[in-house]
């Protein structure tokens, strides 16, 4: 007797969510597992931080599809493979897709999930509404491919994602060899949404990334030093006016 396809799909997604919950009790709370995961920039310049956060937290044995919406690439730059040792987490090929429209980018992400050949899809899109994320989530559960969305600080509205992180850049750690030099990267990550561990929502993590050992560690508040330096007391800056021309 054959099990009807919609029931077997439900069984599969049930089995997957059970296996997810087992691992989702500590950091990063199921990030990078099956489902849609969002990394949102805290402020304008944090797009690089969320890219770093996503890259260090995913593990992909197979090929990866990386979808870029042109507008984001133009404002925040394009990814540079030689720029991060964290790319070593991606073991196989990485196919990049550049689109000008948001809908095309979302279509490409869905196409990647359904192709059955990539084991992870990373998408840089400026916005995705509930319908879009829900659609991606269903596809992700059905085909077993996780989706990570990197979104700028302008992202708002509700989402059907598994986890949602908001990440901001922090001053780097002290460089032991050069006190005036740049040290290890530090980010502050806030868990804004988590379906598997809702009790942890709202927790703030200070993270330090070691690009030599490729390890990400959660550092204590004390280690960072005084709180004034963090985002809590953000220095408000004013934009320089446009230069007046005659």
């Amino acid at each position: 007797m054959a099990i009807p396809s919609h029931i077997s799909d439900q069984l599969v997604s049930l089995a997957r969510s059970v296996s997810n919950t087992e691992k989702a009790t500590d950091f990063p709370f199921g990030f990078g597992q099956i489902g849609v995961h969002e990394c949102i920039a805290h402020e304008f310049g944090d797009m690089t931080a969320i890219t770093g956060f996503a890259l260090t937290n995913v593990k992909s044995e197979g090929a990866v599809l990386w979808v870029r919406q042109y507008r984001i690439a133009q404002e925040h730059g394009t990814i540079l493979k030689s720029g991060s040792a964290a790319f070593q987490h991606i073991k196989s090929h990485c196919l990049h897709v550049k689109t000008s429209k948001r809908m095309d980018a979302l279509w490409a992400i869905e196409e990647g999930i359904k192709s059955g050949t990539v084991s992870l899809v990373i998408g840089e899109v400026d916005e995705a509404d509930f319908t879009a994320t829900r659609r991606l989530k269903l596809a992700s559960e059905r085909y077993g491919v996780p989706v990570v969305l990197l979104m700028p600080h302008t992202r708002e509205g509700i989402s059907a994602c598994e986890t949602q992180w908001r990440i901001s850049t922090q001053p780097s750690a002290l460089n032991p060899y050069d006190t005036k030099g740049v040290g290890k990267s530090r980010w502050q990550a806030t868990l804004e949404r988590c379906r598997l561990a809702p009790e942890h929502v709202g927790e703030v993590f200070d993270l330090e990334y070691d690009d030599e050992t490729l390890s990400l560690c959660v550092v204590s508040r004390m280690g960072i030093g005084s709180l004034e330096k963090g985002k809590m007391s953000k220095i408000t800056r004013e934009a320089v006016p446009f230069r007046k021309t005659a």
Binding site: G45, G77, H93, R237
Partner: protein, 477 residues
């Protein structure tokens, strides 16, 4: 104002190309004129050439008023040469085009005979080997020579092509003041007689495998187009399969009854012959096929073929592994067909110190899958690189270090930490790098923790233009 073209009726009134319009009007008082639009004519001729692909795959536009078609080996499809000529002429006149047609062994001979043969009402068929005889009576200007050269030949008393046959080549060359003119005469004569080869450059890349589907009744419905595609595709794939090849480019043509044609083209990153996959790619653009007044022939062509061996699929799922290369390439194909070929990319690496050149995105190709990133002893590289370095205004410059403040995207940023520089010299051996200056790259961090990759374009005392400028090139994580 001068007459540019003259049709048959005009020619009977002795109006010919080059005649002043006043003279022409004197001969035919009710003559009206229209300015010639060469671009539109050229475009129309090109479209007509595309449509003529239905007869032969090798069609080319050789001048403003001539299409050449290679009919080698296709005569048997149309009974014989005479009926092929008749068919082409009939189809052209159906669409309102008058045509002169000649079939000959060489391009030069066909060109001359189509224009200057005395019996031009029907297609002129020159039997193989008869060129010399057929051409002998034609005027020398039939040889596609420039106007001064023809005039010179006429002055020598050489008005017919036949007169050139007996002449000593050296003696002929000696009569011309310029060597080029003499060479041109000899070259064109040799080409017409088939002594020298003259290749045809087809407007559409010559497909290696073609399947045609003529329709007894013109097809006007979209379902008909899809049915035709299915039919042709299964035939073509069977044929490719039998020969053990796969193709990378597929063209699907639809020829309309009214002389228009439309086609779609899809490419694959590697050779394929999988019906399902090709159909999926072609279907993406099938709406662009416009049936118009009805399509009377479909054609599916495969180009860029490569040998493709049968691949034994592993029986056990465990042997498949977690990466299916075939499926990966198909994904790339599907994305490319919807979003454009340039949208699907893979990083490509190049031995260069200039960052934007060392790593860049290239159109996806299977060869890129083997590429490994070039490991170098270069300094730190940012995670995100701006497509073009962004100029920034800096404050508190010191000659041997990074600035203390900079304005990037209209916001003042105070720099608290920095390391560097990493000096990257320009690639002076490249022509495009002329005037390029050495760059000093710094990794800096502002008081909020944003980490930039900035560089100073030029040194202070390098005498290569004004004071050096600063640019932000990327951002570290």
């Amino acid at each position: 104002m001068r007459v540019v073209v003259a049709n048959r009726i005009a020619q009977t009134l002795n109006i010919h190309a080059g005649l002043a319009f006043t003279d022409a009007r004197a001969r035919a008082p009710n003559l009206v004129f229209e300015e010639i639009d060469r671009d539109a004519d050229r475009l129309a001729l090109q479209k007509l050439a595309n449509w003529m692909v239905r007869f032969s795959p090798r069609v080319s536009v050789i001048s403003d008023d001539a299409i050449v078609m290679d009919v080698t080996g296709i005569n048997h499809l149309f009974d014989d040469e005479a009926s092929l000529g008749k068919l082409v002429q009939a189809r052209l006149s159906d669409n309102g085009y008058a045509s002169y047609i000649a079939i000959a062994d060489t391009l030069g001979a066909a060109h001359a005979l189509a224009r200057f043969s005395t019996k031009r009402e029907h297609a002129f068929i020159s039997c193989s080997g008869d060129e010399k005889q057929d051409l002998a009576g034609l005027p020398t200007r039939a040889l596609r020579l420039s106007e001064p050269t023809t005039q010179l030949l006429r002055r020598f008393g050489l008005t017919r092509i036949g007169q050139l046959y007996e002449l000593n080549r050296k003696a002929l060359a000696r009569r011309f003041a310029s060597r080029e003119a003499a060479d041109a005469v000899v070259l064109r004569l040799d080409q017409a007689l088939g002594i020298r080869h003259e290749p045809i450059k087809p407007t559409i890349a010559e497909p290696e495998w073609v399947m045609r589907l003529p329709c007894p009744e013109p097809v006007a419905a979209q379902e008909g187009v899809e049915y035709a595609l299915d039919q042709l595709l299964s035939q073509l794939c069977r044929k490719l399969n039998n020969h053990g090849v796969g193709a990378r480019d597929f063209y699907f043509y639809a020829f309309c009854t009214d002389g228009k044609s439309s086609h779609i083209r899809v490419s694959s990153a590697n050779a394929v012959r999988d019906t399902k996959h090709i159909k999926r790619l072609l279907k993406e653009h099938i709406d662009t096929i416009n049936p118009g007044f009805g399509i009377d022939m479909f054609m599916l062509a495969a180009a860029r073929t490569e040998s493709l061996d049968h691949d034994a699929r592993p029986l056990s799922a465990e042997m498949v592994g977690n990466f299916d290369e075939e499926a990966f390439i198909r994904l790339a194909d599907r994305l490319a067909v919807r979003l454009g070929e340039k949208a699907v990319q893979m990083p490509t690496f190049y031995q260069s110190h200039v960052p934007e050149r060392a790593e860049s995105f290239a159109k996806f190709d299977t060869s890129l899958m083997k590429e490994e990133s070039v490991s170098s002893n270069a300094g730190p590289r940012p995670l995100r690189l701006f497509e073009t370095p962004e100029h920034v205004e800096v404050m508190a410059e010191v000659p041997d270090g990074p600035p203390a403040r900079l304005i990037w995207r209209r916001v003042m940023r105070k720099i608290v930490r920095a390391d560097g520089p990493e000096r990257i010299a320009p690639e002076w051996w490249k022509l495009s790098e002329k005037g390029a200056r050495a760059r000093d790259y710094y990794r800096i961090e502002d008081e909020e923790g944003y980490r930039y990759w900035i560089y100073r374009n030029g040194l202070y005392d390098d005498n290569r233009g004004g004071p050096p400028q600063w640019y932000v090139h990327g951002m570290f994580t």
